[in-house]
C-alpha cells in the first residue's frame, strides 16, 4: 500500500468514530436533567406572546428545535455543528465554539509541554533500566514507573506547589537553596497577576477601541492561544501598553514558561511512568534480535550498539503511546487546571457540569475527542512512515 493510500484509509476510518462521538454527546444532552429552553427564557417563560399566542417557553423550544422528533433534532445538531454553530453557553452567555476555542489551547499547551517533559525522562530512565537489567537501578526505576502512575494527580499538583511554590515558613525548599522569595515557581495562573496578557480576552487587543494591533496582520487575530508561541509575536506597540516589567517578547515568554512548569510536570509524571515501562520492555525485546547480535559481533562498542542499533528500533513502538498520552494528559488536565487556576477545557467542563450547561459539555467532549483522534491519526501516519510493515496489514 502506498503511503498516500494508507493516509486516506486512516482518515476514512475516522468518520464513523466521529459520527459515533456526536451521537454520544447528543445522547448526553438528551439525558441531562436541564431544559435549555427554560434556562434561556428564565423568568419570562410564562409570558404569552400576543402575536402567536404561545408562551415564551414554547417559542424558545421551537427556536431550539426541541419540539421536533429526536431524529430530526439530531440532524439539526449535526448540521449546526457542520456550520460551526456549537450552541450557546448558558453560563458564559457566549457561543460555545468561542468558549471552547479559548479553552482548548490552554489545555493543549499544558498537555504538549507535559509530554515534552515526560518523554526525555521516561525514555532515558527506560533505556538505563533495560541496560542495567535486574540491577539496583532497574528495580528502583521500575518501582518509580509504578509509583508515578499511582500518584493521584491533584494531590501531586498540590504537593509540588507546596514544595516548589511556597516559602520555607510553609514548607517550601526553594528559598534556602536558590535564594528565591516565596518558592521557585508561581503556583497560580498562566501569567503573573500584574500582567494582562495581550490576547483575545484582553481589551488591549480590541483594535476598534484602542487602535493597537497586538499581533502582526498575518498572524491569527488575538493570537493562537498558545502563549509560548504567541509571546514571540506580540507587537512592540502592544508591549508598550502592558506592565513595563514584562515589556519584551522574551520576558513574556519567560513568564509563560515559569507558570507552565509545575502544571506540566504534574501532568507529565504519569506519562513518564508508563513510557519508562514501555521503553524498557521494547528495548529488552530488541536487544534479543539478530541485528543487535550482529552489531555486537562486529565489535562495536556497547554504547554504540544500544544507542544506534537498538534504541532506534525500540523507539518505534513508543510512538504508539504518544497518541494515548495526549488523551491521558487532557484527562488529567481536568484535575490540575483548577488547582493551578488555568482556564482550560478541564475547568470549563467542571463548570459546565456544576451549572448543567449542556452545550459547553457537549462542545468540550467533542473537542477532546477531535484532538485525541487527530493526534492518533498523526501518530498512525508517522508510524506508517517509520515502519513500512504497518502499511501492509
Amino acid at each position: 500500500m502506498k503511503t498516500s493510500e494508507f493516509i486516506v484509509r486512516r482518515i476514512l476510518l475516522l468518520i464513523p468514530v466521529m459520527i459515533g462521538v456526536t451521537v454520544f454527546t447528543f445522547a448526553i444532552a438528551q439525558i441531562i436533567p436541564a431544559d435549555p429552553a427554560a434556562i434561556l427564557c428564565g423568568e419570562r417563560c410564562g409570558l404569552v406572546d400576543p402575536v402567536t399566542g404561545k408562551t415564551m417557553l414554547e417559542l424558545q423550544r421551537e427556536r431550539l428545535g426541541l419540539d421536533e422528533p429526536v431524529i430530526e433534532q439530531f440532524r439539526l445538531y449535526l448540521t449546526n455543528l457542520a456550520e460551526g454553530d456549537w450552541g450557546e453557553s448558558t453560563t458564559y452567555n457566549r457561543p460555545t465554539s468561542d468558549v471552547v476555542r479559548d479553552a482548548a489551547p490552554v489545555t493543549l499547551e499544558m498537555a504538549l509541554f507535559a509530554l515534552l517533559m515526560a518523554y526525555p525522562i521516561g525514555i532515558t530512565l527506560g533505556i538505563l533500566s533495560a541496560v542495567w537489567q535486574d540491577q539496583v537501578f532497574d528495580h528502583i526505576s521500575r518501582f518509580l514507573a509504578i509509583a508515578f502512575v499511582s500518584l493521584p494527580i491533584f494531590w501531586l499538583a498540590m504537593m509540588l506547589q507546596l514544595v516548589f511554590g511556597t516559602g520555607p515558613d510553609v514548607g517550601g525548599i526553594c528559598d534556602p537553596i536558590f535564594g528565591t522569595e516565596g518558592g521557585c515557581f508561581p503556583i497560580y495562573g498562566r501569567h503573573d497577576a500584574a500582567l494582562t496578557y495581550p490576547d483575545r480576552s484582553s481589551s488591549l487587543c480590541d483594535t476598534a477601541i484602542t487602535g493597537i494591533a497586538c499581533y502582526p496582520s498575518w498572524y491569527p487575530s488575538g493570537g493562537t492561544g498558545f502563549h509560548l508561541v504567541d509571546s514571540w509575536f506580540v507587537t512592540d506597540e502592544a508591549l508598550d501598553n502592558i506592565n513595563p516589567e514584562y515589556a519584551s517578547n522574551y520576558k513574556l515568554f519567560d513568564d509563560t514558561l515559569v507558570h507552565l512548569i509545575l502544571p506540566s510536570f504534574t501532568l507529565g509524571i504519569a506519562s513518564a511512568g508508563s513510557l519508562l515501562r514501555y521503553m524498557r520492555a521494547s528495548l529488552l525485546e530488541v536487544m534479543n534480535e539478530d541485528y543487535v547480535r550482529t552489531a555486537r559481533a562486529k565489535g562495536l562498542s556497547e554504547s554504540r550498539v544500544i544507542i544506534v542499533h537498538a534504541c532506534r528500533n525500540a523507539l518505534v513502538p513508543i510512538l504508539t503511546i504518544l497518541g494515548f498520552s495526549i488523551g491521558g494528559a487532557i484527562g488529567g488536565a481536568v484535575l490540575t487546571e483548577s488547582i493551578f487556576a488555568f482556564y482550560g477545557m478541564g475547568n470549563v467542563a467542571v463548570d459546565a457540569i456544576i451549572n448543567l450547561d449542556y452545550s459547553v459539555l457537549m462542545g468540550v467532549t467533542l473537542i477532546t475527542a477531535i484532538i485525541f483522534l487527530m493526534s492518533n491519526l498523526i501518530v498512525d501516519i508517522l508510524y506508517g512512515v517509520v515502519d513500512p510493515r504497518v502499511r501492509l496489514e
Binding site: V17, W155, A349, I354, T365, A369
Partner: protein, 577 residues
C-alpha cells in the same frame, strides 16, 4: 436409577474433586514461588493486605467516628466546644476551647433547676464513653479573647471533670460568656495501639476539630468498596461483550469494536464527568421485581440445557471440569451481588428495607442455584427408592452429595423468605437504595471502563479460539455458549486477573479525582478525594489536611498496582515451566 447405583460414580467424582484440588494447590504453590521472587510484588501484596485490614478494623483503630462534629455536641449545660484545627502532634490537639454562656447559667440559677451556686460546669461529652479529665487549666477569657484572672474559675479537686464558677463571675452582669482553655486527657481518644505519650492526633485535625487520622481510616472502606465494585462490574460487562465480539467475529465484532473506538476517543475522566452529569436527576435505581428471578432462572436454564445435552451425548467430559465454569459464574454473580451490598455493616443495617431483603433472598437463591449446578445428579435422584438411606447418606460428611438435603431445605427457606419479605416491595427491587453521588461515579466509571476489558478479552478469545481443543469441541457439535464458557474463557482468564487488579487501583484514583472535583462524595464525607478537596481551602498553610489523605490514595493505588505487576509475572507464559 437409585442412590446405590451411583455410589461408584460418586466415589469417582470425589476422587476427581480431590485431584483437581491437588492440582489447584500445586498451581498456587508454583505461582507463589514465581510471585515471591519479586520483592516489589511482595511489598505490594502486604500493602493491599494492610489496607484491607485497616478497612475492616477501622472501628477499632479510629478514635472517633468520621461523622462526629464537635459543633453539634452540646450537653445540658449549653456548652459549646469550639472546634479547632490542629497540626499533627501539636499541643492544640489535646487543648479544648470551651464557651460557657453565663446568661444561661444565671437563668437556670434563678429558676433553681439545674445549676448549683457556685455554678458547676460539666464536661460530659455524650459521644465518649468516659468523661474526660482536665489535666491543666490554662486560661480564662471573656468572649473577645481578653484574659481574665484565672482564679475566677477553679477546678474541682475531687473530680477533675468539673469547674466551679465563682460568685464574682456569676454576679458580673457585664460578662455574658466566658471561654475556658484547658488541656485534657481522655482514654477514649487514645490510640490503644500507640505507646503512651503518643495520644495526640497523629495526622492533625480539620477545621471542624475532627481527627483526620480517623477519617482516613474510615475512608479506606469507601475507596476499597468503590474499587472492587467498579472493577468487578467492568470485568463482567467487558468479558461478556469482548467474548461475544471475539467469538462471533465478523459484523458483530466490527460493530462492537467501533463502539469501543468511540469510548476510547474521549478521555476517560471527561467521559465519566459527562456521564455523572447525565445521571444527576436520577434519585434511586430500581428494577422490576421479576428481575430478581432472572439471574437464578438464567442459571437454571443453563443447567438444564447442559443436562439435556448430557443425555444426548453422555460421557463427553466428567464432573469437576465440566462444572467449573458454572461454579465460576455462580461465584462471580455472588461477588457482584455482595459487592452491590457494599460493606457488610451497611448490608446488615439496610436489612430492614424490603428491597434489601429481596436482595438478600436473591443471594440465597443464587447459593441454591450454585448447589443445583454442582449437583448434576439432581434429575437422576428424583425417585422415592431408598429415600431413607439417601437421607442418611446426605448427612454423611464424607459423601460428596451431602448437600442434597441441605439444598432442599435452603430452597424451601429461600422461597418462603422471598415471598414473605417481598410483600411490601412495591413490585420493585431497589438495587441501590440511596442513589447518591458515590453511586453515580461508580456507574460512570463502569460505563467508561468496560471497553478496555472488551478489547483485552477479545484478543484473548481470538487467540484461544484457534487452539486444537476448541476445534475438537466444535467438531463434536458443542454449542457456542458451551465452547465459550467451558473451553475458551477458562483459558483466557490470566490477563484478565492482572487487568482486574490494576483496575482496582485505577478506579480508586479516578473515583477520588471525581470526588476531588466535587462530583463524588457528599460534603464532609470520609472519602479520600473529598478530604483532599476539603483541605484545599486551607492549603498551603495547613498542608497536612491535603498531604495525608493523598498519601492514603497513593499507598492503596500503589499497593494494587504492585500486586497486579507481580501477578503479571506469574501468569506470564514465559515463566511457565
Amino acid at each position: 436409577m437409585s442412590w446405590e447405583d451411583g455410589i461408584e460414580e460418586r466415589a469417582e467424582s470425589l476422587r476427581r474433586i480431590r485431584e483437581s484440588a491437588a492440582q489447584a494447590r500445586y498451581d498456587f504453590k508454583r505461582g507463589w514461588k514465581i510471585y515471591r521472587r519479586s520483592l516489589l510484588a511482595v511489598i505490594g501484596l502486604l500493602m493491599v493486605i494492610s489496607i484491607s485490614v485497616v478497612s475492616i478494623f477501622a472501628d477499632d483503630l479510629a478514635v472517633e467516628h468520621p461523622g462526629r462534629n464537635l459543633q453539634d455536641t452540646r450537653d445540658v449545660w449549653h456548652i459549646d466546644y469550639e472546634p479547632r484545627k490542629a497540626a499533627p502532634f501539636s499541643d492544640e490537639c489535646d487543648t479544648r476551647y470551651q464557651k460557657v454562656s453565663l446568661t444561661t447559667l444565671r437563668r437556670w440559677d434563678a429558676n433553681g433547676t439545674n445549676a448549683l451556686s457556685p455554678t458547676r460546669v460539666a464536661d460530659n461529652n455524650s459521644f465518649y464513653e468516659d468523661i474526660l479529665v482536665v489535666t491543666e487549666f490554662i486560661e480564662l477569657q471573656d468572649r473577645y479573647g481578653v484574659t481574665l484572672a484565672s482564679d475566677l474559675v477553679t477546678l474541682e479537686t475531687s473530680n477533675n471533670s468539673y469547674f466551679w464558677i465563682s460568685d464574682e463571675l456569676m454576679d458580673n452582669n457585664s460578662l455574658t460568656q466566658i471561654r475556658l482553655i484547658y488541656k485534657f486527657e481522655n482514654d477514649a481518644m487514645h490510640h490503644w495501639w500507640l505507646p503512651d505519650g503518643y495520644d495526640v492526633c497523629i495526622f492533625g485535625t480539620n477545621d471542624e476539630g475532627q481527627d483526620l487520622f480517623s477519617k482516613i481510616l474510615y475512608g479506606s472502606r469507601v475507596s476499597l468498596t468503590i474499587g472492587f465494585t467498579v472493577a468487578t462490574l467492568t470485568v463482567i460487562i467487558g468479558t461478556i461483550i469482548g467474548s461475544i465480539s471475539g467469538y462471533f467475529g465478523g459484523r458483530t465484532d466490527e460493530v462492537i469494536m467501533r463502539i469501543t473506538d468511540i469510548f476510547f476517543a474521549v478521555p476517560g475522566l471527561i467521559l465519566a464527568l459527562a456521564f455523572v452529569a447525565a445521571l444527576q436527576a436520577i434519585d434511586d435505581f430500581t428494577l422490576p421485581l421479576w428481575f430478581a428471578f432472572l439471574l437464578p432462572l438464567f442459571g437454571l436454564c443453563i443447567y438444564f440445557r447442559s443436562t439435556i445435552f448430557d443425555s444426548i451425548m453422555p460421557g463427553e467430559t466428567s464432573f469437576p471440569e465440566r462444572n467449573l465454569p458454572m461454579r465460576v459464574i455462580v461465584v462471580v454473580s455472588l461477588v457482584v451481588l455482595l459487592a452491590l451490598g457494599g460493606p457488610w455493616k451497611d448490608f446488615f443495617e439496610l436489612a430492614d428495607s424490603s428491597g434489601w431483603r429481596i436482595f438478600a433472598s436473591l443471594v440465597g437463591l443464587m447459593i441454591v442455584g450454585g448447589i443445583f449446578i454442582l449437583d448434576r445428579r439432581l434429575m437422576d435422584n428424583i425417585s422415592l427408592d431408598g429415600v431413607g438411606s439417601r437421607t442418611l447418606n446426605s448427612l454423611d460428611w464424607r459423601n460428596p452429595y451431602r448437600y442434597l438435603t441441605f439444598r432442599t431445605l435452603v430452597i424451601f427457606i429461600a422461597s418462603i423468605a422471598l415471598f414473605t419479605w417481598s410483600g411490601d416491595g412495591d413490585n420493585e427491587i431497589t438495587v441501590i437504595d440511596n442513589f447518591d453521588r458515590l453511586w453515580k461515579i461508580q456507574i460512570a466509571l463502569v460505563f467508561t471502563g468496560w471497553p478496555g476489558y472488551a478489547r483485552l478479552i477479545r484478543g484473548q478469545v481470538l487467540y484461544v479460539k484457534e487452539m486444537t481443543f476448541v476445534e475438537a469441541a466444535r467438531s463434536v457439535g458443542a454449542p457456542s455458549g458451551r465452547i465459550m464458557f467451558r473451553h475458551i474463557l477458562p483459558n483466557a482468564w490470566a490477563p484478565l486477573l492482572v487487568a482486574f487488579t490494576l483496575d482496582i487501583g485505577g478506579t480508586i484514583l479516578s473515583a477520588s479525582g471525581l470526588s476531588f472535583i466535587g462530583l463524588g462524595a457528599e460534603p464532609g464525607a470520609a472519602e479520600w478525594g473529598k478530604l483532599v478537596s476539603d483541605g484545599r481551602a486551607h492549603f498551603p498553610q495547613d498542608y497536612w489536611l491535603v498531604l495525608f489523605p493523598g498519601l492514603a490514595i497513593a499507598y492503596t493505588t500503589l499497593g494494587f498496582n504492585l500486586l497486579g505487576d507481580g501477578l503479571r509475572d506469574v501468569v506470564d507464559p514465559k515463566n511457565r515451566r
